[in-house]
Amino acid sequence: MTPNLHLWLIPVLPLVGAAINGFLGRRFSRQTVAAVALGFCGAAFAMAIAVATQFSSLPVVPHIETLAHWMRAGAFQADFAFYLDQLSFVMLLVVTGVGFLIHIYSVGYMWEEGGFYRFFSYLNLFMFFMLTLVLANNYLLMFIGWEGVGLASYLLIGFWFLKDSAASAGKKAFIVNRIGDFGFLIALFLLIQHFGSLTFAEVFQKIDAMNPETAGAGLLSTIGILLMVGAAGKSAQIPLYVWLPDAMEGPTPVSALIHAATMVTAGVYMVARSHVIFEHAPTALMVVAITGTLTALFAATIGIAQTDIKKVLAYSTVSQLGYMFIACGVGAFSAGIFHLMTHAFFKGLLFLAAGSVIHAIGGEQDMRKMGGLRTKIPWTFWTMTAGTFAIAGFPPLAGFFSKDEILWRAYQTNWIYWAIGVFTAFLTSFYMFRQWFLTFFGEYRGEADHAHGDQTRAGVPAPHGHGGIHESPAIMLVPLVILAVLSVAGGWVGASRFELFLSPVFYSHNSGHLIAPSSEEAAQMRQMESLESTLTMVSVAAAGLGLFLAWLLYYRRPKLPQQIAESLGGFYTAVLSKYYVDELYATLFVKPLVDGSTRILWHTIDQGVIDTTLDDTADSARDVSDTARRMQSGNIRSYAGWVAVGAAAVIAYMIWVGTR
């Protein structure tokens, strides 16, 4: 007898919270709004925990619960049904757990803001759609969650809608996502057309039944690539990543929840969920891997040149998502999901900590105006330190295990993926420690009276009316500490055990990956192990190099990078100056990197090409539109003329058909 877990309650609980706050919240006190929001989100988390306790005793996995029949049209049918297997189980815990922590944090962060109830209503609404996405039993329900999270994200990015940039950032996110969604949608049509179903189990069963050598390789590749287009939109991969940096206009907890920990990973989840399709479509897999690799590298290089603390993290998120796609692209889906999980911990942490920094110094986001905050906000400093070391990939923190696993699996497929991955790891370490040193070390470079910061920047947390840099309240610090612990310890479960846990999802179809090694293979295995540890050392060394370089440039000689950047003409004088060694480093690494990153990648490609292309497309569409409406002269005779011309064309065509 299969137990009934009432899975439907998990997404519906936050929906109830959203409805209560949305309709009645205006009349509630802030305490009530917070209690409602936290209560329903916490209840969902508690449900998830309850599911976790029963998960091991489930007789059948995947465990499917059908709430209601949705539609049956001919042979095609889709239900409101929920699908719980190891993969959605991991996602469920990550989403509800991290989501709940960020809800708690938001109470402190948003306390002073107008529209408090509206914010929590949107946040709960987001949780509803995200959980629907994760628990869906078929692509259609998943797509509803998929569009819903986009909508919630649009509302939350534009939350400070009085700020023009926030409103347009929200719109941009929405429209770029639409482009991706249509890839997804066409993939769904193709699935219906060829498999007559959108239910995961049915589709995958039918695909497995196909002859892998001949049948439908082209079809599955097409579907896979279209799914990847959808994933690229939601998970901010090249070329659809442009919305994510702009999305930082939203409140920081939103960036943490939606644009780091959960929503943007939906694309990775979707690709992993569709692994059966991708495994039968090598071309699509390659597209995934190449997109991931390029995005990881590209975004990391742009991250170097950013001065806004949240923008650094935004590009870093794009880059880390690239890692996850590398993992999926080389068929190491569980490694991708593992990184998804650890990334949710440490990137959620980093965003929240950055929010705490911003909060502490009255809304300033420019790292050049920070510095020396280590002693003033110690809790934030230490938690952010944990996050920084975790993302840089230092053992034994969480990021190390997951990134190492991805790089190792990438190496087995093609060493180029690995090489770019390691170089990206170096860059990651560099820009993250750059941020760390700029923010917490050296001397404070902001205005003395920061607490009455720029009030015209509507949208940043309002001044608190008390002077001095201050640590955030406990309600914000508790989630930071919990996430810091997870960022440290979250990887100790180990990649192999994690993979073993997920193996029923990923290997049930083409078993053979996890068969116990025979004796001949054992020797080979040992050799592989030594290679693996060598590679691990290389990637740790890369992270160390990044730390060292950041230390050199932003701690020991904080003026240097600026001098280098300024001394385009007087470059030789700089070389002749006394910091000869430092200059050498600078010449070799920093100048090409910073310059290249700023000028070529960020200004030229990111803003110049991709952004402008989008904007230009919109502009030229408006031009065409303007021309097209001249057709509409308002003159009846010309209108009648159009009708007559149209009629003549139709008649001519029909006569042509008729006489053919």
């Binding site: 409406r629 001249r630 509409q632 002269s633 308002g634 003159n635 009846i636 005779r637 009648a640 003329g641 007559a644």
Partner: protein, 101 residues
């Protein structure tokens, strides 16, 4: 003298149809445009009656319906025109141009 066949009627009807269309496109007085549309409807009637020679009474009955409808349309059309004339004091179609783009 050759007998008049159905084809002859059809050609006359087609000519009327073209005349009507050209009238709609070229005439500036709304009333004349309305008359041109009536011309097209009469082309239809001619067609229907001509086809009745082959297929039986049905076409003629249909043409009576068309005549009735044309009357209704003309009545309503003139009403609309009067309302319009009160606002703009013109029956020139080229001056019907408040709404555009």
């Amino acid at each position: 003298m050759a007998p008049i066949t159905t084809l002859h009627y059809l050609v006359v009807a087609a000519a009327l149809f073209v005349l009507g269309v050209v009238g709609v496109l070229t005439r500036r007085n709304v009333v004349v445009v309305l008359m041109s549309i009536e011309l097209i409807l009469n082309a239809v009637n001619l067609n229907l009656v001509a086809f009745s020679r082959i297929w039986g009474l049905q076409g003629q009955i249909f043409s009576i319906f068309v005549i009735t409808d044309a009357a209704a349309e003309a009545a309503v059309g003139l009403g609309i025109l009067i309302a319009f004339f009160r606002n703009k004091e013109t029956v020139n179609v080229d001056e019907v141009d408040l709404l555009k783009w």
